[in-house]
Symmetry: C2
Subunit: 203 residues, 2 copies
């Protein structure tokens, strides 16, 4: 059995990443569930390694410093994140992992995981459509929107650092998710990743 | 519009390549038809560039020497082959080309076409099954079969030189063809090949 892979999916605001990843998780079955780590205390009934891996704040920060946390966020004063060791545990079982990551975090994770990681950037069809989607949400002020547009422009510059770039055409989220599934399937068939299979062929 | 790609598909005897490529051509619609070149004379009603590109034997041999022929074979004293210029014409229109090539020819074509070319090796699930398939054809002598098996073993050593390796499980030719379609779709989404799209994004 070949190892699983870690697929990092990023997309600027307006790329429609949320919908696409939701569909993707439904149609791609080879995915394992990575249990997150947190620095918050366990609640009653919660189990280590089932609900979370529980770390102290100091432990969590040391893990971050050592490159043992693939991605994390701070919420309500607590850290939440994905441990490198958890990703390795799941991929060793032959299951893949999908991580939704901010655009600037993709290449960082790739550095931590090496060739076991494949990065995919979702984009809107063009800048006008991206702006339309950003504005379409409605409630934000012009200032917030202009800030997001500026950020989105910077984020597009990151696209070339990703392994793949997939366009999320308006109204075609399913197609987009299927294209990502194609990429996931294809990456398992590279001759480098098939080398164990080839070596065992005559056994 | 992005350029099309040339997909080279090879497989040792017993890999089941013929059936898989037949299915592949039915289910993958983005393929253009490459008109072959030949050194035989046009028959009545045949048209240059429609039935064949007609070359003299000397012209054909010079094209081969210059690296302008991707693959060729000699049959009944005449050359038949695929011109590099024809592949470039079709891919410039955004259509892909599928070439079925002997195992030792794949890396050669890749050298001629560079990154526009993607090589895929089909293999049987294992050596025993490959032998079963070879023997299953029935009519060949033991000597012929042993020769084929020896050749198949050598051909397997070429697999690592291919970009992708796909296993053709017995009775699952459709799945195998679909995996190849996934590879074909994925290759169009690499950030390098999407760079024109990214550059035009803000226009």
């Amino acid at each position: 059995m070949n190892n699983g892979l870690v697929f990092v999916i990023s997309g600027p605001s307006g790329s429609g990443k949320g919908t696409v990843v939701e569909i993707l998780r439904k149609i791609y079955s080879k995915v394992g569930v990575a249990v997150s780590a947190t620095s918050r205390l366990p609640r009653e009934g919660e189990l280590e390694g089932v609900n979370y891996y529980y770390k102290t704040r100091e432990q969590f920060e040391e893990l971050i410093r050592n490159g043992d946390v693939l991605e994390y966020t701070e919420y309500n004063g607590n850290y939440y994140g994905t441990l490198k060791s958890e990703a390795e545990r799941i991929t060793a079982e032959g299951r893949d992992i999908i991580l939704e990551i901010e655009v600037d975090g993709g290449s960082q994770i790739k550095k931590l995981l090496g060739e076991q990681c494949v990065t995919i950037m979702l984009i809107a069809p063009d800048a006008d459509e991206q702006e339309r989607r950003l504005r379409g949400r409605g409630t934000e002020s012009e200032e917030v929107i202009l800030g997001r547009l500026a950020r989105a422009r910077e984020e597009m510059m990151e696209a070339v650092k990703y392994d793949y770039v997939v366009v999320n055409e308006t109204g075609k989220s399913e197609e987009c998710a299927e294209t990502i599934v194609s990429i996931m399937k294809a990456e398992h068939q590279t001759s480098r990743r098939m080398s164990k299979y080839i070596n065992d062929y005559f056994d």
